[in-house]
């Protein structure tokens, strides 16, 4: 028996999870051409920072979440300077050897995958050494919504609102700020952008920090609902990668549409047939999309639009 409200809440829950899991990954991939396989571990940094700030240092939950976002953004900045752009090792190399030692990882898909995967292993094991096998956990705030024999966590449903806000703010930043304009110029044609005076390296650096901050936000928001273990990031990866594949090149629109489509599929199938089938449905959708719409939803829309323009 399908209950409409159940389905709605489950959709909102899945939508929020998929959008928030994917947002940081989509931005870093879409703008820098870097596949961040350590994305899950960036989420873990946000979740750990939030939990530690709340439980160890006694910050109230919203402040702890903000701390989680900032710590992760800062961490992302360091990773960008040291590993992705190679700025720090290259600066040291210039001073000692008189030459660069690292080629930046921008637009080197396979290389960036290997580097960030290695980073993810170091992060998981490093956190395990520093903080042990698990942390005490924050309880989920806000109680629950009760309706005709069922209940649903208020907090989880309200995350859908946060997910929409994240999408909206990301859209506004890329559409209306100077950074956004520079970032779009860098995506379209890096050389020309540089010729026009855009500091593309700085754009990349900012982008990575923003993407990391978003991953941190996801960790911060989900910290009160999931188990605090060093490997917690892996539970976000399937949704994150499937959403980016399904969404396609446009960061905001792609993530929104992917969240909507996959959220619907996941909610309907897991509501009617159970969690197991819900997950299978998610992965089958990804396979079908890769086969028939290899450019993702927004890539397909783009192609149709271009064809129409040619027709005119």
């Amino acid at each position: 028996m399908v209950n409409g409200l159940n389905l709605l809440f489950q959709f909102l829950d899945s939508f929020a999870f998929i959008v928030l899991a994917a947002a940081g990954l989509a931005i870093i991939f879409g703008i820098m051409g870097v596949i961040n396989l350590a994305h899950g571990e960036f989420i873990m940094v946000g979740a750990y920072a939030t939990t530690l700030a709340n439980i160890e240092y006694g910050l109230p939950l919203p402040a702890a979440m903000l701390a989680g976002v900032l710590v992760t953004a800062l961490f992302g900045l360091v990773v960008e300077r040291v590993i992705i752009s190679g700025w720090l090792p290259n600066t040291i190399g210039q001073l000692t050897l008189g030459r660069n030692v690292i080629e930046p990882l921008y637009d080197r898909l396979a290389d960036s995958m290997v580097a960030t995967w290695g980073l993810s292993l170091v992060m998981v094991q490093g956190v395990r050494i520093l903080y042990g096998n698990s942390l005490d956990q924050i309880g989920t705030p806000l109680g629950n919504i009760a309706y005709s024999g069922f209940t649903y966590s208020t907090y989880r449903v309200s995350l859908a609102g946060v997910a929409l806000a994240v999408l909206l703010v990301t859209f506004l930043v890329f559409r209306y700020t100077e950074y956004g304009m520079r970032a779009r110029a860098t995506i379209q044609d890096e050389d020309t952008a540089r010729a026009m005076g855009v500091d593309t390296e700085r754009t990349y650096m900012t982008t990575f920090a923003i993407g990391s901050g978003l991953a941190g936000l996801t960790g911060a928001l989900y910290a009160p609902t999931i188990t605090m273990v060093p490997g917690l990031g892996s539970s976000f990866l399937v949704e994150a990668f499937v959403a980016v594949v399904v969404g396609g090149p446009s960061v905001v629109l792609g993530t929104t549409l992917a969240g909507g489509l996959l959220g619907t599929i996941n909610a309907v199938f897991s509501n009617v047939y159970g969690t197991f089938v819900g997950r299978i449905a998610l992965l089958v959708t990804a396979i079908v999309m890769i086969r028939f719409l290899p450019e993702g939803i927004t890539g397909f829309v783009e192609r149709v639009r271009e064809r129409r323009q040619e027709g005119v």
Binding site: Q10, P224, T225, F276
Partner: protein, 424 residues
Amino acid sequence: MSGPLSSRRGFMAATTTLAGTALAGCLNSSSSSNTIKLGILEDRSGNFSLVGSPKHKASLLAIEEINNNGGINGKEIEVFDPDPQSDNTRYQDLTRRAIKQERVDALWAGYSSATREAIRPIIDREDQLYFYTTQYEGGVCDKNVFAVGPTARQQLGSVLPYLVEEYGSDIYTIAADYNFGQLSADWVKVLANENDANVIGEEFIPLSNSQFGSTINRIQEADPDFVMSMLVGANHTSFYEQKASAGLDVPIGTSTAMAQGYEHRRLDPPAMANIYAGVNYMEEIPTKRNTKEGGFVDRYFNKFPDAPYLNEEAENNYFSIYMYKKAVEQAGTTEQEAVKEALESGITYEAPEAPEGESIKLDGATHHVDHHMWVMRADEEHNVEAVEDRVIPETFLSETVGCDLTSEDEETQYTPQDFYEEAG
């Protein structure tokens, strides 16, 4: 819009490259006939480190205590204990190494059933004396394997009848979707049948799943008297927090929560409120041997002041090392066939799980232990109290299957489907 996205194929490859490998380290060792060498392969990193570390620590405690008291038959115990890192391939390598190079006299290894099944063929090829100590689905009838943890029949058999009596007969099962969870769910059906209860719903959850919104809704829709939960691992632990925040307050019986991963200490109350664990041991077991000054808990935390918890499997490693000591002393040798025979003679030990004046007995025919089982309940503040306890023998192998390793050499694992209609 075009640009960096032209190479989507590379990106898609990323989704398939999320598999890992681990490098085996190099370890040196030496052994002489004046010492006894025990192999302790327990996870201190990777997926199972949370539950594996206490096993490793409690083993070291038992060995230290024995060595401080003159060893076994005057021989000191040496340990071979590299970290298998929750990796089954590494387990296989280290098991071969322990047997062939280190020539261990007895081996303790592995948390999950998947690990046990990965190394059991190696163990059986070499006829290595092996102790598997995790609580598990049951049914292993193997001449080389002493499965001394409680089985599903013992664990679920303690908590399920209690809950039927307390709350009613409609049961909803949620279990991890692999052999342990599937077989445990079969046991729930068998035990429900024996206790005049019925399973009104069942869901198997993939191990990678950490979102339980739909599961919680489905439980509410079925409206059972209680839930039996055999969820496994860190992802599944999220269920308890999520069901609490969703306001699902149905009582839950479990064989996997609290006693192994101490969720009642890690999660914010009241996530584990009204959860009943059927276990042979957890740190809060109120026996004198366990809680008194200088008791098991005291000794453990004296040696490991920073350890987070003393779990069910840690006690199993601890008492089985002492059972091994008794067997070697009885046999007068570390020769493995003689020790197995001594173990089969019905060794008993005053384990921390048993109340004062009682001991637990190793059943020679099945290589399993007749455990003193406890039903432990967590309240709103996550205080744990014992609500029932009794000795539950392992009857599946002895009575239903008829496994007798003293008269017949076997290397099999039996499942409930083979013997019960309702489990099919």
